[in-house]
Structures are given as C-alpha cells and as structure tokens.
C-alpha cells in the first residue's frame, strides 16, 4: 500500500488503488460510469431508446396499417386477450381474442359490443398482414403480432370513431411525436449555440442586447404566441410543410434556454486557467474553442437538450389537440387525442386517451434521462 520509495527519497507518487483505476479513463468514460449509477436515468434511457425503435419501424410493430378502418367497429372497446383455450383434452396455450357481436340500442342510438366466444381470433407472432416497406426499403408483409388471418377484427386497445385500431395508430404516432422533439431541439440547438456563442464570445454591448432580447422572449407567454403563429398557417399548406412549420414555431421560443447555457459556459470557461494556459501554449481561437472549451461543456449541452425535448413534445401535443398543429393524414399523439374532445366521448370510450399515456411515458422517460445526464455531465465532482 505504501508508495513511498526509500531510494528516491524526494517523490512519493501516491496514486492510490482507486485513482489508478480511474486515471486512465477519459471524460466520456467517467460520464458513462456516473450515468450508470443514476438508476432512474438508465431506466429512462432504455424507454427512450425503445420509443425511438418504435418510431423507426412502426409498420412492423403495429398489427394493422394507419389507414385500416372498419366502421362496423366504431368505438369498439378493447378486446380481452385469452391466453389459452379448453379443447376438451385439457387447457392448451393458444392466445386469442374473441370477435364482437354488435348490437344497436335503439333507445340511445348507441352501439354495444359483446364478446362472441364462438368466434375466436388467434393471435400470432410474425403474422402476414398488409404489405409495406420496412424502413422504406425492404418489402415485406410481416407484422410483429396480430391476427393469424389477416383482416380479422383485432382491437386490443379499442377502436376510435371510424373503427380504427387505437394501438396501431398510437404506434404510428410515435414516429411524429418523438421526432418533432428532435427536429425542434436540433433547430433550437443551432440557434442557441450560434447566438449564445456570439453573446459569450463578443461580450459587451452585443452580449447585453442579446441577453435583454432573450429575457424578453422568455417573458412572452409561449402558448398564446404558439397558438397565434400556428393559427396563422393557412389551411391550404400541405401537411408535411405544416410539420416543418410547427417545428420552426416551437424552436422560435425554444432556443433561448440553450443559448443561455451556452453563453454561461462560454463566459465561465473563458476565464478558466486551463484555457488561459492553452492561449499561452499558442493555441488559436479555433483550437481553443474546439479542443478545450467545447469538449468541456458538450456533456452539459447534451443534458440540456434532452431536457428540452419533452417540452417540445408537450407543446406539439397541445397544439395538435387544439386543431391548430399537425393535421391528418400526419398522425401524432396530439392528433390522435383530438378524438377525445369532450367529456361524454371520453366517458363512453376512455381508451381514446391511450396516446395520452404514451405522451406521459415518453416525457417521463426523457426527463429521467435528462436528469441522469445532467448529474453525469460533470463527473469530477463526487
């Protein structure tokens, strides 16, 4: 244990056991180790990764396509999954749902659905269904799970007004909802780094003006402004352009907090001794920024970004819900929630809120992830 060397006398390198292990690890290795200790953060990371996988291949994961509808099953409640069936020779594993018999109550004009055990619909894995192109490339007709015979009614999360499968639509909605956050944050990041960098680099009057401007933007109530901007998009604009306009609208206000983080770090870092030392070494401004300053706060920026995504998702959901955000045929969780406009509809078909559940889970997971990353961003203080 003792590291004092009697022969050299002067110096006793004291690297202790745990220091020796850590000494060879770079910044990102330390960030990773610290992040792994944040259990909620890790859980959040797993959920987020899963969500993006869903966003990548919804065609494969959803039992039916986005457009599939069957008016006969308008507001059909979720089908119960039965895991096996009694064949007379004993219980056998055979997951299935039962078909619905629908009856119309003529007094209220409402349809009621009753399970019909005589018509089991078997559920299988990797079943054939409607054809599509996986990742837009590979033509296939396989779906992860679904009715063994394609086309049979299959609504394990219920159906909406037009008899569309809520589960499939929620899975498809993941693509837009999870990416609008990414696109919006990327835009914010570009604005934020640019403007925050200018502010931090030039200082003085420029900095002062930009700071006042940011304070001003932050003091404008965002949602009324978003509503105003979103309502200004004419109805005639094609849906895909609406998607991009909405992301731009969200980042118009979203860049400010990132710009503040960038500026603050820039200013703090400019006076760090190791940056001064780099100047004395003869490093030019480009080398100082990219080799010394940026790596030092990149982890902080990543954390801030991951904490900004949920805000974007929530904003998009709200705008779309109000009918001034995205519109069909583009499907996001917010667009899906438009179906749940009034209390009576929700009371008779609460499963319409399923996309809302997806929003909550995604936002929670991103928040946990962001918290974990923020704690890990500075691995030297523990």
């Amino acid at each position: 244990m003792s590291t004092f060397d009697q022969t050299t006398g002067q110096v006793a390198p004291i690297a202790t056991a745990h220091q020796r292990g850590r000494g060879y690890d770079g910044h990102w290795a330390l960030v990773w180790q610290k992040f792994l200790r944040h259990r909620l953060g890790v859980a959040g990371a797993i959920v987020v990764v899963l969500a993006y996988i869903v966003a990548l291949i919804p065609e494969f994961l959803a039992p039916v396509t986005l457009e599939a509808y069957n008016p006969a099953y308008s507001y059909a409640p979720p089908q119960a999954i039965h895991w096996g069936r009694d064949t007379g020779e004993g219980w056998r594993f055979a997951p299935h749902v039962n078909a619905y018999k629908s009856e119309i109550d003529y007094n209220s004009g409402r349809r009621t659905f009753v399970e019909d055990p005589s018509q089991p619909i078997d559920i299988g894995l990797f079943v054939a269904g409607e054809p599509y192109r996986l990742l837009g490339l590979i033509p296939t007709d396989r779906h992860l799970f679904g009715p063994v015979t394609a086309g049979q009614p299959f609504f394990i999360a219920g159906a909406d007004r037009l008899g569309r499968d809520i589960l499939s639509r929620t899975i498809y909605g993941t693509r837009i909802s999870m990416t609008i956050g990414l696109v919006g944050v990327t835009l914010s990041l570009v604005f934020g780094i640019l403007i925050g960098g200018i502010s931090g680099l030039f200082g003085g009057v420029v900095d002062n003006l930009i700071q006042r401007f940011i304070e001003f933007i932050q003091s404008v109530p965002s949602i009324p402004l978003w509503i105003g901007l979103a309502a200004a998009i004419p109805q005639s604009v094609p849906p895909l352009q609406v998607y991009f306009l909405i992301t731009i609208i969200l980042s118009v206000l979203g860049w400010t907090s990132l710009a503040r983080v960038v500026r603050g770090r820039f200013l703090a870092m400019r006076n760090e001794d190791f940056v001064k030392a780099a100047r004395l070494d003869g490093c030019g401004p480009v080398r100082i920024i990219f080799r010394h300053m940026l790596p030092s706060f990149l982890s902080h920026i990543i954390a801030t970004v991951s904490l900004a995504i949920p805000g974007m998702i929530l904003a998009e959901t709200a705008l779309s819900y109000l009918g001034i955000g995205l519109r069909t045929p583009i499907v996001s969780w917010g667009v899906l929630l438009q179906e749940a406009q009034n209390v009576r509809t929700i009371a008779s078909a609460p499963w319409l809120l399923l996309p809302g559940g997806a929003v909550v889970i995604a936002v929670l997971a991103l928040n946990f992830l962001g918290d974990g990353l923020r704690d890990a961003a500075d691995p030297y203080s523990d």
């Binding site: 001003f216 003091s219 109530p221 965002s222 949602i223 009324p224 819900y321 209390v343 929700i346 009371a347």
Partner: protein, 330 residues
C-alpha cells in the same frame, strides 16, 4: 433601492413596446384577414361575397392601410383611450369583451400560483430535510408525474373522473344560472365553487417544478458553512432551518416564480379551452381562427403585459429579499 426600482420600471417600457408589436404582427402579417375568412365561410354556405363588397368592408375597418399604420392606430388607441379596437365577430368594442375575461384570467392565475406555494413549499422543505425518506421519494415521483402530464390531458382526466364517478358535469367558471347574471354574493360563491378544479389542474405542473426547485436549492443550502456557524451558536434546529437555509433558498425560488407564472398564464389558455372557462383562452383561439385581428392582438398583448408585470413584481420582491441586489445594483 429607489433607483433600482426606477431602472427596473423604465426597463419595462421597451419590453411593453416590443410585446405589443409582436402581438400585432403575429396576427397581421400572415396572409388573409377577417374579410377573406368571412368570405370563405359564406362561400361555403353558397353565398358568394362580391369583391367590391369585400373591399368596401376592408376600407370601413381600415384593413387596407399599411400594417404599421394599422399598428399605430391600434396601439395609440390602446394607450391614450384604452380603446383596443373593434371585434369584427362580436360586433363590439374589444374592451367590452376583454376586461371581464382578463379579470377572471388574473383571478385564476393568481389562485393557481397561491395553490402552488401552499402545496409545494412545505413539501419541498420536507423533501430536502428528510432526503431519501419514503415521503421524499413519493414527492419526487409525484413531482415527475406532474411535469409529464400535459395540462389539457390532466383537465380531461379530471373532468372524466368527475363525470364518470361523481356524475358531475364540470366545466366553466359559473353555473348556467349565474353565467350572464350581474355580480352578486351568490355569483362570487358560485365562481369559487367552480374555480378550484381548474386551479388544481393549472397548478399541478407548477407544484411539481416548485417542489423540485425548493428541494434542490435547499439541499445546497443545508450544508453551507453559515448553517454550521449558526448551529455552533446554539440555535435550535427548526428556527435554524427557517432563518438560514430556507431563507437563502427563497431567493432562487423567487427568481424562478416568474417562469412559473408565465407557464400558468400560458398553460391557462389551453386548460381554459378544454374546460370551457370564461377566461381569455377560448376567445383567443376563436379570434385567431376567424382572424378577428384586434381581438386576438389585444388578448396576446394583455396576457404578455400580465407576464411583464409579474416579472417586475418578482424582481422587486427579489431586491427586497436580497441585500446583495439592493446594495450592489441600486
């Protein structure tokens, strides 16, 4: 302190000018106006509006003038006469529509803020002091949930629960019999009776974030040297907690209240639309949809003014609380 206040108030003026400009331009710049929208609606009903008539209406409303002139006419009316222009769809001066709505908006926003404080401050303090206790974990979990549930979804859920479980048809700020009635005791009570649900819905997200802020700030403060110093003087634990760490944690908390207030005003728009409240939200959305220009611009302007005033108040409060700001900037 005096000069600090003065400078702070002077700073509000450019902010207000900018806010009014943005409010107006957001509505005025995009293509189309109230007349085109009306023509579209009428056309949909098979009633074609002749172009000459459209132009005549434009002239009558002053919509044919350059945008900056329209802005000047509008804002000078607002500032000098309290005249917010004319609402095309209501056929009324905007001020007749806006004031009662704004009053209720302020009431709801302030009530929500108070609700947040009453709930979140004690929980935040408890969470920080009893860190990693079961209560702390519960508060942290609820806090996260409050952040993750969108306002409108919570409003829907609350209304659903009230409707499905209790058979109540919640929504609005008044019972039908009081909706158009003049102010009376009964109307006030009726209002209070309806206010608490939107207040809770609106306050939830804020409560969650305030708990987080207080917990984090307080945990930083709990082990500061001056706490040790005060303990070494022989001060009792509770008095110590209140006089030093809590008091110190109050400053970042107060400076954060502005953002919370912005979120309340902002989020209130959507909650009001979902719950059908008689505040500014639903009218703003309608005005935007029908491009009822002065109405929409006035609403956005007044909501922003509300926030600017909130900012001013929190800054002044902060200066009052923190001698460092008082003496070093004032």
């Amino acid at each position: 302190m005096g000069s600090f206040m003065l400078r702070r108030i002077i700073y509000v003026i450019p902010a207000l000018i900018a806010v009014s400009l943005i409010s107006f331009l957001v509505i005025a710049i995009p293509p189309g106006d109230f007349i085109t929208r009306t023509a579209e609606l009428r056309a949909a009903q098979g009633d074609i509006m002749p172009l000459a008539e459209q132009e005549a209406m434009r002239r009558a409303y002053g919509l044919d003038l350059p945008i900056m002139v329209q802005y000047w006419n509008w804002i000078s009316g607002v500032v000098t006469r309290g005249d917010f222009g004319y609402s095309f769809s209501f056929n009324l001066p905007v001020k007749d529509v806006i004031w009662p709505r704004l009053g209720l908006t302020i009431l709801l926003s302030v009530a929500s803020l108070l609700f947040i404080w009453v709930i979140a401050i004690p929980i935040g303090i408890y969470s920080a002091v009893r860190r990693y206790s079961a209560g702390d974990y519960l508060a942290t979990f609820l806090g996260f949930l409050g952040l993750a549930i969108p306002n409108f979804l919570l409003a829907l859920a609350v209304m659903y629960i009230a409707f499905a479980w209790f058979g109540m048809n919640v929504g609005g700020l008044f019972s039908p019999e009081y909706l158009e009635a003049p102010w009376s005791w009964g109307r006030v009570l009726d209002l209070l009776n309806h206010l608490w649900l939107p207040m809770i819905v609106l306050g939830t997200a804020g409560t969650a974030s305030v708990i987080r802020v207080i917990r984090a700030n307080l945990m930083d403060e709990l082990h500061k040297p001056y706490v040790t110093a005060a303990r070494a003087k022989g001060k009792g634990e509770f008095a110590l907690l209140m006089k030093y760490p809590v008091r110190h944690a109050l400053n970042p908390f107060v400076s954060g209240q502005n953002d919370i207030f912005v979120d309340i005003v902002s989020g209130g728009t959507i909650v009001a639309i979902v719950m059908g409240l008689q505040t500014t939200g639903p009218l703003l959305l309608d005005a935007l949809r029908t491009q009822d220009m002065y109405m929409a611009a006035s609403f956005i302007l007044m909501l922003s003014v509300l926030v600017v005033i909130g900012t001013l108040l929190s800054d002044v409060l902060l200066a009052w609380l923190d001698p460092r700001i008082r003496y070093q900037q004032g």
